[in-house]
Amino acid sequence: MAAVTPAERELSARLQRGLRVARTVIVLAILLGLNLPNLVAGSAAYHPGWAGYAGWAVLVAVAAADAVLVARHRFWGVARWPAAVLVLGVAVAMTLALSPAELGGPPHVTLGVIGWFGVLLFARIGELVGFVGVHLTVMLGFLVAAGRTDQVTLVAFGITALGVTSFQLAVGIAGSAMNSVARQAAAAAAEEAESRTAEELAAVVHADRERRYSQVRAVALPLLERLAAGSADPADPGVQRAAAGAAARLRRMFAEEGDDRDPLAAELAALIDIAERRGVDVQYSQRGGRPEPPPPVAQDLLAAAGAALHAARSAARVTLAGVDGAIVVGVVTDGDPGPVAAAAPQVETATVVGDGQTWVEARWAPRGWVAR
């Protein structure tokens, strides 16, 4: 049997509550309404006389303990075993104190009521049957030991035992059925929660894809439309740069997962890839740990790198460095990228021309970095 989950226990407790209240009422009613008058009427059958009342008091105490557990939505758990032994012990003690002539008669109150304690203590039908079986076997043993093996007595005992026990087993089976219903209900609830989670995940992924597609629509489609209409000239460096940028976006979108952990490096790699396809020899190095920049900052850093890379004729050096929380993207190119500017206020760009090369640097310093 699979382990009982907390959710199942909770559901089972709620479903069984009505049934458990009913059982407790039944047992208390039998003890007070049926057994007590029989004890009072037949107290002379017990030796010593108080033995009947003492045993009865213990049974009332166990039933009261059960009522408290029901009120607190709790079960007997492993305590059912000592409680069962106690109840059987009481039954044996009271039967020993009873005069043999009264065995199976009205003063022999334990004979009918003990099985109900099995119903209170045991949720599993097998355990309940075992408990009732042990009790009835012991009682039968007492009858045989007292020499009362005549047909009338045995038949009377059998009728009592069968009549009472069938009630008890019926109530026990009802509880057991309720248990399995609770288990199924809990499993169904867990399944529903799982599919809800999967749906929500799918929705998030879908929204993310939609966002990316809308980016592509915004960047690539107008460009393609202008190219198709002839209003954009493929020879125009501006158009080429826009195409390279859109290609980088497309590449990143197709890359999807995997590159997500470092989007800046991934987009930079895409820009490098585009330059390499043009035959530019690109050297790339990255150093240091970097924070993840906000999207507008990343866009500025990449725009500067993209412009410089796009201008490269045959060779370029690209570096990405993280120093004390700042991100520095540098590109040295053998072409002329023209002026490079950033839109985000926190991004600074610098262009140095010399040595036959142009060095473009874009730097984002989120925490009061002073660039000199």
Partner: protein, 219 residues
């Protein structure tokens, strides 16, 4: 016209690399620069015994066989050999660890074409040589016990990493190329003066003191 070593003779190097193509490439560069390759092999032993034991510098591939050959590097440094680590590893941690163990300098294989010969010459003279990627590693060194760099030193180092051109760095900060060189060298000396002591590190610091690159107060 040969390049002369400390003893006034031609510089001799030993190449420890398990890729024959790399060994051949380094041989060609050395031959063009007038540097003699006295021995070459796939194991560090070639630099410790035979003709290789007398070479002025060791061009050392860190990746010999399975993992980085830290033990071999430590042994060579402990014997006072000037080791130029020439590795395909590009990560900062590896570069900084090599310096810590006493390597003269560290360069990635992508930098070899431009920087290996100058690095060998500098090593033989106990002068610091910092290729751009190593400069980047020092500028972005995240370790809490890293040597303390001045703001300007860090900026110059970062710019050197970014541009691979001392001329561009000089223009950017309105400095002379020589001053840029001094900043970069000073950082290297700070690294030589930190951590585990090694004979090669001490030689680097001593030479920098003689050259007036640093003074005792600067350390």
């Amino acid at each position: 016209m040969g390049t002369e070593g400390v003893g006034g003779e031609m510089i001799g190097v030993v190449i420890v690399d398990d890729h024959p193509a790399v060994v051949d490439g380094v041989r060609v560069w050395c031959a063009r620069a007038g540097i003699a390759v006295v021995a070459a092999g796939a194991r560090a032993e070639v630099a410790l015994r035979g003709p290789g034991a007398k070479a002025d510098a060791v061009v050392f591939d860190l990746q010999l066989g399975a993992g980085p050959a830290w033990d071999d590097l430590t042994r060579l440094a402990d014997e006072g050999r000037r080791v130029v680590v020439y590795s395909q590893h590009a990560d900062s941690e590896t570069a900084l660890r090599c310096l810590e163990l006493g390597a003269a300098t560290y360069l990635t294989k992508a930098e070899g074409h431009e920087h290996l010969i100058p690095a060998i010459r500098a090593a033989v003279e106990d002068r610091p040589y910092t290729p751009p990627v190593l400069g980047g590693a020092m500028a972005a060194d995240p370790r809490p016990d890293r040597p303390v760099l001045s703001e300007r030193e860090r900026e110059v180092l970062l710019a050197w990493f970014s541009s691979d051109s001392k001329q561009l760095v000089a223009q950017r900060f309105h400095l002379s190329v020589k001053t840029v060189d001094t900043y970069i060298a000073r950082v290297r000396i700070k690294y030589a003066d930190a951590g585990r002591p090694a004979g090669t590190k001490a030689a680097l610091v001593a030479r920098a003191l003689q050259d007036g690159l640093i003074d005792l107060a600067g350390l």
